[in-house]
């Protein structure tokens, strides 16, 4: 019997009140973005944001609760942009969106930071045992792709160094049931032919650092066949996350039919980039449709997730999407 788990990889939009207060506290310019050593007033503001995110998720009834990553001004590049060995360069486009982040230029050894672990500890206190925690990090392949290497000098070495850095961060995390590694670049900027194992080795380095369920979440369409097969076999993931909102979902089904899958899967079922809120029944039908297409008897666990982070949405719609995921899991039960 497949366990259905309603969860999200976090990166939520700031509540509207916090958009204003944080903007007033921090400013609008590039140099005003989060540096990791923010003032007490800013820390307090984010504590309130975090509490609201936890309440939102508990209210919705999600099966995993995330910290929400309200502090991540640079989206998934955050763990680098607040790192001491990183200088932030110009504002660059975030994937194919009208969103921008600061180019993290790595200029020295990436040693331990602990920034994300501190956030997760605060989230754990807030959740207070009411639901299991899910942690979120960028996957090493995407984080390397988003960054500029001015220190290591070799692409494979850079990916490996980022993986070691992320693994060190994970080891400091408080107890968590699931770790989401966000890897949109695997689809948008796939590894070159022959370089797939470099990417999957890097992911496995991070995955090996935790006993939790590791979900390697992809976005923006189907993975190439060869890369998909490498990921299933080598990345150390308990679940691959697949984007079923994207128009090429038939290719994703083909990959699973042809090359098998991880024991669990995460299905990107609700659109993280559209305000149209899916009906729970529609989401449930998508799960059943997908499961009927693939030969496996059943998966250990199917995660019901959005296909991207949710910060693209206005705050009211982000909450509605949480509810849709949770309600869909109930429909399936």
């Amino acid at each position: 019997m497949t366990e259905r788990v309603a969860a999200t990889p976090g990166l939520y939009p700031l509540p509207d009140w916090a958009k204003q207060t944080l903007s007033d506290l921090k400013g609008h310019q590039k140099g005003d973005l989060l540096s990791g050593d923010e003032s007490e007033a800013i820390v307090e503001e984010y504590a309130e944001v975090r509490a609201e995110y936890v309440d939102d998720q508990l209210d919705a009834g999600l099966d995993r609760v995330v910290e929400g990553q309200g502090r991540w001004d640079d989206m998934i590049a955050h763990p680098l942009t607040v790192h001491d060995s990183v200088e932030t360069g110009g504002i660059v486009r975030y994937y194919d969106n009208n969103n921008f982040y600061r180019d993290p230029r790595v200029v020295d050894d990436l040693d331990f930071s602990g920034d994300v672990a501190r956030e997760l500890e605060r989230a754990t206190d807030l959740i207070d045992g009411e639901a299991p925690l899910a942690a979120t990090l960028p996957g090493p392949y995407s984080l390397a792709a988003l960054a500029t290497d001015e220190h290591y000098g070799d692409e494979a070495e850079f990916q490996a160094a980022i993986a070691e850095f992320l693994a060190g961060e994970v080891e400091a995390f408080p107890a968590h049931d699931t770790l989401f590694l966000l890897e949109p670049s695997l689809v948008t900027d796939s590894p070159a032919e022959g370089a797939e194992s470099t990417a999957t080795d890097a992911i496995a380095t991070v995955a090996d650092a935790t006993d939790a369920d590791v979900v390697v979440q992809t976005s923006y369409g189907a993975l190439g066949e060869k890369l998909y097969a490498h990921l299933v076999d080598e990345a150390g993931a308990d679940a691959l996350g697949l984007d079923l909102v994207a128009g090429d979902r038939e290719d994703t089904v083909y990959n699973v039919q042809e090359f098998g899958s991880t024991d669990s899967l995460a299905l990107g079922l609700v659109d993280g980039q559209n305000t149209l809120v899916e009906e729970p029944e529609t989401v449930a039908e998508r799960v059943e449709w997908f499961e009927s297409q693939v030969p496996a008897e059943g998966f250990d666990r199917t995660y019901l997730t959005p296909n991207t982070e949710l910060f693209y949405l206005p705050a009211n719609k982000y909450r509605a999407k949480l509810n849709a995921l949770s309600a869909a899991a109930e429909v399936l039960d």
Partner: protein, 356 residues
């Protein structure tokens, strides 16, 4: 294919124009709002204030009159009201088109947000969007008025699409609405329309969608009406020479910001519409000296002859301090008039415009 820019350009030459050569001067559209107008925009939402919607309309009228006259004083051949009535280039139109709704701001970067609307049903034309503002500006101006309109590609792709099977289909429906608006503006006397499509710069592979949308926009629009297209901050090698097929009179582009490095892109094959070239930077708070702007104008002559060259700032000037915006505009016009005189005197080699 390109419209017929030579059929509509001369109407913008002022009767007292001092030179034989005529480089049409214009602006992209937005201009810094007077501080009191920002205050007025906020005051109308304050329940404790007696300042009401009618007062705000008066304030908007005053600001439009002020900026239109400021443009005239700078010597521009064609003027805009500085978009004093508009808040944001997508929001303003989404507010006026049936089918859009607003759910709240979304992040662009850091703590910069945009009230990104959602299209929740088929878009429809209700009241005219810009006819009143055009008539007002036209009445207070002695110079011809240009009307900037956010283009359907940008109105479609910078919104959430809840209602259409594809955003491309939404764009074509929006293009039909823009066509309706342009018809009404022309009926009201407008002869210079600029379609703004900044979203094209972010997704140049969609240039064919923009082309099809433009075909719809200009359908039935007489050739005496000048249709411009403004795009900014892009890699133009990815949309050139395709833009030679667009049904436009003029292509307006920001190249000062990149030190004119992309000029060679437009020289082969031959550039077909008129070129409206940005010669002052919209994002630096220093007024460029006249001599420097004159050099920038010569860059445009590498692409088109003087009778096909329009001169403007790179982009809307709204983010600059107002005195800087004015200084840039005034120096730009001075530089243009001096370059025209030098062309008349044979002092500029049109075939090698960068030579002294």
């Amino acid at each position: 294919m390109v419209r017929n820019p030579s059929a509509n350009r001369e109407q913008f030459r002022p009767h007292d124009h001092p030179n034989d050569a005529f480089l049409l001067t214009t602006v992209v559209g937005s201009y810094p709002k007077p501080k009191w107008l920002n205050r007025a925009d906020e005051l109308v939402d304050d329940p404790d204030s007696k300042f009401d919607a009618e007062d705000l309309e008066e304030a908007h009228d005053d600001a439009c009159r002020l900026i239109t006259h400021e443009h005239e004083r700078a010597g521009l051949d064609t003027v805009v009201d500085g978009e004093m009535r508009r808040n944001e280039m997508v929001e303003f139109f989404a507010d006026r088109i049936d089918g859009y709704e607003f759910n709240g701001p979304v992040k662009v970067w850091g703590h910069n947000y945009f009230d990104k609307p959602s299209v929740v049903e088929e878009v429809e034309y209700d009241e005219p969007w810009l006819v009143d503002e055009f008539e007002f500006t036209s009445d207070v101006s002695e110079r011809p008025v240009k009307v900037p309109i956010t283009g359907p590609y940008t109105l479609g792709f910078w919104a959430f699409n809840e209602a259409y099977p594809s955003t491309e289909e939404l764009v074509y429906d929006l293009a039909d609405l823009v066509n309706e608006e342009v018809e009404k503006l022309v009926e009201a006397g407008a002869r210079y329309i600029q379609i703004d499509e900044p979203a094209l710069a972010t997704t140049p592979e969609d240039h064919a969608i923009v082309g099809e949308a433009l075909e719809r926009i200009v359908s039935g629009i007489d050739e005496e009406v000048r249709i411009g297209l403004h795009v900014c901050y892009g890699d133009y090698s990815r949309i050139y020479p395709e833009i030679n097929d667009y049904p436009i009179d003029e292509f307006d582009v920001e190249l000062c910001n990149g030190d004119f490095e992309q000029i060679p892109t437009f020289t082969d094959p031959e550039f077909e519409p008129d070129l409206a070239l940005g010669v002052v930077d919209a994002h630096t708070a220093e007024v460029e000296p006249v001599e420097e702007i004159k050099e920038n104008i010569r860059q445009g002559l590498r692409v088109v002859p003087p009778e096909k060259l329009t001169i403007s700032p790179d982009c809307g000037l709204k983010l600059l301090p107002r005195d800087i915006a004015y200084g840039k505009t005034e120096n730009m016009v001075t530089a243009v008039r001096e370059v025209e005189a030098e062309i008349d005197a044979g002092e500029i080699d049109i075939d090698n415009p960068l030579d002294d």
